[in-house]
Symmetry: C2
Subunit: 446 residues, 2 copies
């Protein structure tokens, strides 16, 4: 995707805090989400984050504050953006979305004549509640970090950490749509079967090894027909945008159940995503070359191209923070557990999509792909407690002296991400936040 | 579920062919589906199969031909039944559905005063096209046949066919919703990676080991809230009904990809279901005791109960037929490949549901569960070619001399099912039919 005037690092907005160095949402970002005023019974509708505000796209359409979007490809995009889910907007493809982005960028810039009309369409983010941005038809989770796969593999198979298919196949599996929740919703500790070491029979009860996984989510834009495939170099055009994704995992349930058909109850009790989707177009300046470690096999032809090698990866810094009950009580800031970067992934977003559809599987607008846990090469860059605590053997000590092997009730996990490039704006992703609630234990389930 | 007058084996209908011994749809069945006149641009709407006809429920509601359904719980059910998907109907729960069933049963019986008014609401099944009965939010596939799991396990791990969790955990995994199609739609042979035996690197191309799997599908009725569980003895009330399900499988793709996260491209290219859902209530007379083989461990408390032991299994005879291109050209009837019975499953429908939700995972109306391949104890009762051909080592010879290890292009696979009990009607499930279309091979995908 080419860079254009909307990516100009020098742009400033008339929305005052959109120009703060610390904002996630400068005028170069313009991520989409679904919102309404908190506590109201208003209709859910699309909005764009700008500084600490939401630009209400349904209101903007109704008030004709964006005359440039009254006709042409942007008109369809603006109409779809006011709906209670963004699936139709996502399905429009790149041209209408780009036209709307350009109009929004111009209207939100310092000195724009639309300022007074648009001011009435702003809602403070603090006054808004957010919903899932789309009706997610299918959710697929991948496993694209070699560092994560190797470290987790070592815990389970010390002599054979990486399975032979890993460097050939972008491994993925289908996850649960019904339990995907938006940042801020509580996450109840799941209960289920686990096999205690040395036991003869499993026991049932609340998970004792509850974990997070630091991932990005990829929302599909335009889909493909059942029986057709998306070629690698077309894949980018099928991506609407990216968000943060926490693939909560109950390691004890997962370890006992996952053979031979993969994770199920260890994962499907909750997945938290951030409410704002940073669009493919906004991410264009942060594309970087995709490379393979020397000596590794080159991917099969359907998974490689010149375009991939030149700009197939994304430079997105990813961080996980924890806030325990004691930290909250003491008013201590959340503690950063790890920092990694999506450019270290082994398989790119385009490879995920080309692989997913090579067999004719159809993707639909609003489908969600998870990237899998993004762990960096250094042990401290691991995107899960399973790795950081070496399978629970080595507890982490937090700055206030508390220890964690896995998550306690009351712990809050916060995922954050940002793109930075010299000469360009810093784009943030907001956050994906979830707090562990105690298990609802049923006496008769034991 | 108690038996009532709708189950009376002596009932006869004024729809003439509904009384034929061979019909799948006597007046005791009354399965729901979504239809419209073939080739028309009519709205999709709910119907009930009766003999060779569809009773158009939208037309029945509009014509007031069912005065008993104008008020009370049946009114809501009839209104929902006219919608283009049955999700709302499914979510109503047992009482409104039971009320509508009783009204339909009485109105369709020989001598019913509604006959002349309802006659105008009948559409011949031959003149109807069918759609998916629901917007399927999540599709979960289980693995409930011990005979299937053992036979498949032997092919992969001769010394250790059954994994240690099998007799404790109703193993399941999430499947793909977007590629679920209704009976009659073509199934394109998928392409993808496979690792030829003895090779150093995988190859990409059309699957050479394409297979079917004989399953039942379970449509969820009333759902549960995220974070709550469905107790075993409540599970039956969350089942709307059952259909046939063919979980098409590319064994070569699956074998190479499935470690460690389970099946993905080997399965998600297509799943075929039959269009008619036989309701929980219609199936009541065919419930039979659920038992465990002597010496096997008893399930954990959340997976067993007195009710399960008394009536937790269902006596449903299941059959797979093949019709090759040569058979079609010669006008030969489809050949039966296997015959098995759902009463031989190791885990029941109620156990699938109680397990699926024990961790708080929420099920929603219209969700689909697959039972996994239903193979009986005898080798000839196997519900997949993988088993029947012993992993492709032993080709099957069809009556016309053709041989099959796996499916050829042009092969049609037909699943059928029926319930029988002395003194009760024979209920059929219609069929789930799919024809293998040649791979759409892309030169650049190799």
């Amino acid at each position: 995707m080419d860079l254009n005037e909307t990516h100009d690092g020098g742009l400033r907005s008339w929305v005052p805090d959109a120009n703060d160095a610390a904002t996630d949402f400068p005028v170069q970002n313009l991520p989409f989400g679904i919102f309404r005023r908190r506590g109201s019974s208003e209709s859910w509708r699309g909005g764009v984050a700008i500084g600490g505000q939401v630009l209400d796209l349904a209101a903007a359409a109704a008030s004709c504050a964006l005359p440039a979007a009254r006709t042409g490809p942007a008109a369809a995009a603006l109409a779809c953006a006011g709906q209670p889910v963004l699936n139709d907007l996502m399905g429009l493809g790149a041209a209408p979305l780009g036209a709307l982005r350009l109009i929004l960028s111009r209207a939100l810039r310092m000195g724009a004549p639309q300022q007074s009309a648009l001011q009435a369409c702003l809602v403070r983010q603090d006054d808004a509640e957010m919903a899932l941005p789309a009706r997610i038809g299918d959710y697929t989770d991948f496993y694209t970090s070699l560092h994560h796969a190797t470290r987790v593999g070592k815990l389970m198979r010390p002599d054979n950490p990486l399975l032979p298919n890993y460097k050939w196949v972008p491994i993925g599996y289908h996850g649960r749509c019904s339990s995907i929740v938006v940042s801020g919703e509580g996450v109840r500790r799941p209960q289920g079967q686990r096999m205690p070491p040395g036991s003869e029979a499993p026991v049932v009860g609340p998970s004792e090894r509850l974990d997070y996984e630091l991932e990005l989510g990829v929302f599909i834009g335009r889909g493909n027909e059942l029986g057709s495939s998306i070629a690698l170099d077309d894949a980018q055009a099928h991506v609407f945008g990216l968000c943060l994704l926490n693939d909560w995992s109950a390691r004890d349930l997962q370890a006992w159940e996952y053979q031979p058909l993969g994770p199920f109850l260890g994962k499907n009790f909750a997945t938290t995503i951030s409410p704002w989707i940073v669009t493919s177009e906004a991410l264009a300046p942060y594309r970087v070359p995709w490379t393979r470690p020397a000596g590794d096999p080159q991917p099969l032809p359907y998974l490689q191209s010149q375009q991939l090698r030149e700009s197939g990866a994304l430079d997105i810094e990813l961080a996980v923070y924890i806030e325990t009950q004691r930290m909250r009580a003491a008013n201590v800031q959340p503690h950063r557990l790890s920092l990694s970067n999506f450019r270290d992934c082994y398989w790119s977003v385009a490879q995920m999509i080309a692989h997913h559809s090579v067999n004719g599987c159809n993707l639909r607008p609003g489908d969600l792909l998870g990237t899998g846990t993004q762990s960096g090469p250094a042990p401290a860059q691991a995107g899960s407690l399973l790795e950081l605590s070496q399978g629970g053997r080595q507890p982490l000590t937090l700055p206030n002296g508390e220890q964690r092997r896995f998550l306690d009730d009351g712990d809050v996990i916060i995922l954050r991400a940002a793109c930075r490039r010299e000469g360009y704006a810093r784009l943030g992703f907001g956050e994906a936040r979830g707090r562990i609630e105690p298990a609802r234990w049923q006496a008769d389930a034991g």
